[in-house]
C-alpha cells in the first residue's frame, strides 16, 4: 500500500492526465503553456506569481516545480520569500477582513 498521498515522482507524470481525456488535457496544457509565455508580464514575474499561488493553495508539486523554475531564472531566495509574504498577507488578511462581519454582527446583537 502507498504510504503517502504525495509522491515527488508523480510530478513528472502530470502530462499523463491527457491519457484519459486527450481533448481536455491537450487544451489545458496548451492554455497552461500560453499563460506562462512572456506578455505584459515577464516569464520571471509569472514564475514568482506561480510560486506565491502555489503556497497559497499548498500544492507540493507546484512548490517543487516553481522553486526550481525560479532558481533557473536567477530569482533570489529573498525575492521568493517576499513573494510568499505577499501570499501570506493576502491569505491572513482574507481571514482578518471577515472580522468586520463579526464586528457588525456583534454590534447589531449586543445591547
Amino acid at each position: 500500500m502507498q504510504k503517502t498521498y504525495y509522491d515527488p515522482a508523480d510530478l513528472k507524470k502530470f502530462g499523463n492526465i491527457s491519457e484519459w481525456n486527450e481533448e481536455l488535457g491537450t487544451k489545458f496544457f496548451d492554455y497552461y503553456n500560453s499563460v506562462f509565455k512572456e506578455g505584459a508580464l515577464t516569464e520571471r514575474e509569472k514564475s514568482l506569481i506561480a510560486l506565491a499561488v502555489a503556497h497559497t493553495i499548498q500544492c507540493p508539486y507546484c512548490i517543487d516545480a516553481y522553486t526550481g523554475d525560479g532558481l533557473q531564472r536567477g530569482i533570489t531566495k529573498e525575492e521568493m520569500m517576499e513573494a510568499l509574504h505577499v501570499a501570506a498577507a493576502i491569505r491572513g488578511g482574507a481571514s482578518l477582513v471577515h472580522g468586520v462581519q463579526m464586528m457588525n454582527k456583534v454590534n447589531k446583537l449586543e445591547m
Binding site: 512572456e38 516569464e43 520571471r44 526550481g68 523554475d69 532558481l71 533557473q72 531564472r73 536567477g74 533570489t76
Partner: protein, 350 residues
C-alpha cells in the same frame, strides 16, 4: 577558501573514479539510458567531428580562485602549467589551421608566466576571434595584472568572464567571498577602456553557471535580467551572456554527491535531452589542448583525462586531417551539453 579535490586527496581527484560513478548506479541498472544509447536512438552514434572552427588551449590549472563548481578543479594549489615549448608547438599549429577562433582558458590563463608572450605571438597570426577566459578578479590579485584591461585592448582580445549572478550573495557562494565586489570593480575598468560598450568592437561577454543543482533557464531572458541589473545597480555594460550548464564532473560532481543531488540532477539532464543540440555540441567543431599539449574533444573530456581517440593525440604531431576522422569520446557527462537549448563554452548551441 576551499581547497582543490587534488589538495584534499579526494577520491574524485582520480578521473577514473569520476567515470566509474558516471557509468554505474542509475546508468548501470537501466534507470537512465547511457549517452551512447540515447544518441543512437536518432542515429547520431558515433559522434563525429565537423570542420575545426575553435582551438581551445588550457594554459594551466593554477587559479587565484577556488570556485565551488569548477570542472577544472583549479585553484592556487594546482601547479600544472603550460610550458613555453608547448606554447610554441601550439603556435606552429595555429599558423597552419583554418580555425577562426582561439580560446585561452585555465585556471586563470593570465597566471601562466608566458601568457603575454603567447598572446603577442598569437596575435600576429590573424585569428578572427581571439578569446581569453578571465575570472576578472585576477586583474586585482597583484600589481603585475593591473594593466591587463589595456593589454587586452591592445591585442583586441575578446574577454569572456564568469558571473553567476548579479547579486553578491549568489556570486560569492559559488566563487568565493569578495569575488562579486572585485568582479564589479574589474567590469567597470573594462567598460572604461571600451570593453562591452554598445557598438564597441572590444567584446566583453559574461558566462552564467547556475549556482546549484539546477539547469539554466532561457539564455536570452537571463541576459536581459543581467543587463538590467548590472546597468541599474552599477552602470556596467556587456555584450552577450552565455548560459552554461554545469557538467557533473570534478568539483560540481563532488557537490552533487555531497548534497545528495546527483541522481536528481542526472534525471534532470536526461529529461532535458535534446537531440537537436547533439548535432551542434562544441566537441564537433572544437579541439581542446591540455596544458601538457595532449588533445581532447572538449574541455570537459580534458578534465576527465579522456584523450582524443586518435593515433595523433598531441599538439606536437597535430594533423588536422587525421583528427577529422576520429570518433568523439563520450560518457554520461555529455548529457550536460545536450540539455534544453544545449550548452557549450559559447553558450546555447541551438
Amino acid at each position: 577558501m576551499i581547497k582543490s579535490l587534488h589538495k584534499r586527496e579526494s577520491e574524485l581527484a582520480n578521473t577514473k573514479r569520476q567515470l566509474e560513478i558516471l557509468s554505474n548506479g542509475i546508468f548501470k541498472n537501466g534507470e537512465l539510458p547511457k549517452f551512447k544509447d540515447k544518441i543512437s536512438e536518432t542515429h547520431l552514434f558515433p559522434l563525429r567531428p565537423k570542420t575545426l572552427e575553435i582551438l581551445q588551449i588550457n594554459l594551466g590549472y593554477m587559479c587565484n580562485q577556488t570556485c565551488a563548481h569548477c570542472h577544472v578543479d583549479a585553484g592556487p594549489d594546482r601547479k600544472e602549467i603550460m610550458t613555453k615549448e608547448t606554447m610554441q608547438q601550439c603556435l606552429s599549429f595555429i599558423k597552419k589551421t583554418n580555425a577562426h577562433t582561439l580560446d585561452l582558458t585555465g585556471g586563470a590563463p593570465e597566471m601562466n608566466p608566458n601568457f603575454r608572450w603567447f598572446v603577442e605571438e598569437v596575435s600576429k597570426e590573424g585569428i578572427t576571434d581571439f578569446i581569453v577566459r578571465s575570472n576578472l578578479t585576477i586583474m586585482l590579485a597583484n600589481k603585475k595584472y593591473h594593466d591587463l584591461p589595456e593589454f587586452f585592448k591592445k591585442y583586441n582580445i575578446h574577454v569572456i568572464s564568469s558571473m553567476p549572478h548579479w547579486t553578491r550573495g549568489k556570486t560569492d557562494k559559488q566563487r568565493g567571498d569578495g569575488v562579486f565586489d572585485k568582479s564589479i570593480q574589474v567590469l567597470k575598468k573594462l567598460n572604461e577602456v571600451g570593453y562591452g560598450m554598445p557598438n564597441s568592437n572590444l567584446k566583453l561577454d559574461l558566462v552564467y553557471n547556475p549556482s546549484g543543482a539546477f539547469l539554466p533557464a532561457n539564455q536570452s531572458a537571463l541576459e536581459k535580467d543581467f543587463k538590467k541589473a548590472l546597468m541599474d545597480d552599477f552602470g556596467i555594460q556587456f555584450h552577450n551572456l552565455f548560459a552554461i550548464t554545469n557538467l557533473p564532473i570534478s568539483r560540481f560532481l563532488d557537490y552533487l554527491i555531497a548534497s545528495e543531488n546527483y541522481e536528481d540532477y542526472m534525471y534532470a539532464l536526461v529529461e532535458a535531452y535534446n537531440p537537436l543540440a547533439v548535432t551542434n555540441v562544441m566537441c564537433t567543431n572544437t579541439i581542446s589542448v591540455g596544458y601538457d599539449g595532449f588533445l581532447y574533444d572538449c574541455d570537459f573530456n580534458q578534465m576527465l583525462n579522456l584523450k582524443v581517440a586518435n593515433k595523433v593525440n598531441h599538439i606536437s604531431e597535430y594533423e588536422e586531417e587525421s583528427l577529422q576522422n576520429r570518433n568523439i569520446v563520450i560518457s554520461q557527462h555529455c548529457y550536460g551539453c545536450t540539455a534544453g537549448a544545449g550548452s557549450s563554452c559559447q553558450g546555447n548551441v541551438i
